[in-house]
Amino acid sequence: MATQTVRKPYVRHRSAWWWTKNPRYLLFQVRELTSVFVVAYAFLLLWQLWALRSGPESYDAFLQMWYSRPMVIVNGIILAFALLHSVTWFAATTKVPLFRIHGRPPPVALTIGIYVAIWIVLSLVVAKLLYGVP
């Protein structure tokens, strides 16, 4: 545009601490950080596979490490974040309705209920099928 402007827009920048501004932002950051633990466990599994594949001695050494107190604590922390991932993931994915009832998305509680039911069944099946527990 040719018109002259006397505007002097004042541009503000996002603070590096924006995520401390409210609890939802904080939960978001924690949710995003679950990715670190999810990836970490994938690498631990690769390590375990490697050790198992290399024979009894190397797997024994692996188990020494795996069931040492610090590692159990680490695994506990990873489990906590994995659970947080599951819960936040089920909540987040309700945003894309899988089906509609008269044009309306199903109630969020129903979708989450379906997810949790599948989750429990799958967990039991895996525990039973692959580990014989319970």
Binding site: V6, R7, K8, P9, Y10, V11, R12, H13, R14, W18, W19, K21, N22, R24, Y25, F28, E32, A92, K95, V96, P97, R100, H102, G103, R104
Partner: protein, 282 residues
């Protein structure tokens, strides 16, 4: 809209001495609105580019009644204390979308927030976060308008049928598919709540994405291909990390965060289909 930025310092305003900073202290002893006995202290973010390069805060203590909203307080200040205070408003009933401001750090429609519900003292009122400030509480809405325009926000027809054949009809179910997204009042609160937009000013952002989905879901529309292309650019929907705060602050329950996720799913399935069936879709 009250207080659009004047091209030069308005000479009609009472003569505050030409100083740069700091602002004049609030003037006491103001006649109270009828029936009020309580007072509230407001700390208002101000920016007067013709006087100083930096924004500053100015405190006002005003009497109020329980039925007053933040916008009433701003009007009270402008009418009786400081006529230079600039802010936007029009409908004062939550439908024009022009009165947004950050109150205590969260974006609100000032016409829909009661003073009696504010706990803190003073209550900080600032221009909507993430936008460039033009004057006091007035932010630059032009980038937002450009974003709205960029998503082809109109019904696109490949085959236009002749007028004699009548209108394009929709069932209530078909209307329901996009009704929620069509309720947006362009108040920009969602942009003020979006840390991704705060980080990347080119980010398409919540409301424009919701607007795109509104036309995507319209049974009469046939412009999906171009529209999805328009929202799937490098500053488009894929920048969204689903913080979700936009949907929390939206006064019209448009759920722009959900809209973006739906657009992502549509764009991804469309791409997958075009990769699997390269001939049929392209």
């Amino acid at each position: 809209m009250a207080g659009a930025p004047a091209p030069k310092p308005a000479s009609a305003t009472p003569p505050p001495p030409p100083r740069s900073v700091p602002p004049p202290p609030p003037k006491p002893a103001v006649p109270a609105p009828k029936g009020s006995s309580k007072t509230i202290k407001l700390r208002i973010g101000r920016y007067r580019p013709e006087r100083s390069a930096e924004p500053f805060y100015q405190e006002f203590t005003i009497p109020y009644r329980d039925d007053m909203v933040v916008l009433d307080a701003l009007n009270y200040i402008k009418d009786r204390i400081d006529p230079t205070l600039a802010y936007r408003w029009s409908c004062r009933m939550g439908i024009c979308g022009s009165c947004g401001a950050d109150v205590e750090g969260s974006p609100k429609l000032t016409c829909a927030l009661y003073l009696k519900d504010l706990r803190k003292s003073p209550v900080t009122i600032e221009p909507l976060a993430n936008f460039a400030v033009l004057k006091d509480l007035i932010v630059d809405i032009e980038p937002f308008m450009e974003k709205l325009e960029s998503v082809n926000p109109y019904i696109v027809r490949g085959d236009e049928k002749p007028i004699e054949r009548g209108e394009y009809r929709q069932t209530p179910e078909e209307l329901e598919l996009y009704r929620q997204q069509s309720l947006c009042i362009n108040c920009m609160l969602c942009y003020a709540a979006c840390p991704v937009y705060g980080h990347d000013e080119k980010f398409l952002g919540p409301a424009a994405s919701a607007l795109a989905l509104r036309y995507e879901m319209d049974s009469r529309d046939q412009g999906s291909e171009e529209r999805l292309a328009a929202v799937a650019t490098s500053h488009g929907i894929w920048q969204c990390t689903f913080v979700g705060e936009c949907s929390v602050v939206c006064p019209k329950h448009v759920d722009p965060a959900g809209a973006i996720q739906q657009l992502k799913a549509r764009a991804a399935t469309r791409l997958m289909r075009s990769m699997l069936l390269p001939l049929s879709t392209r």
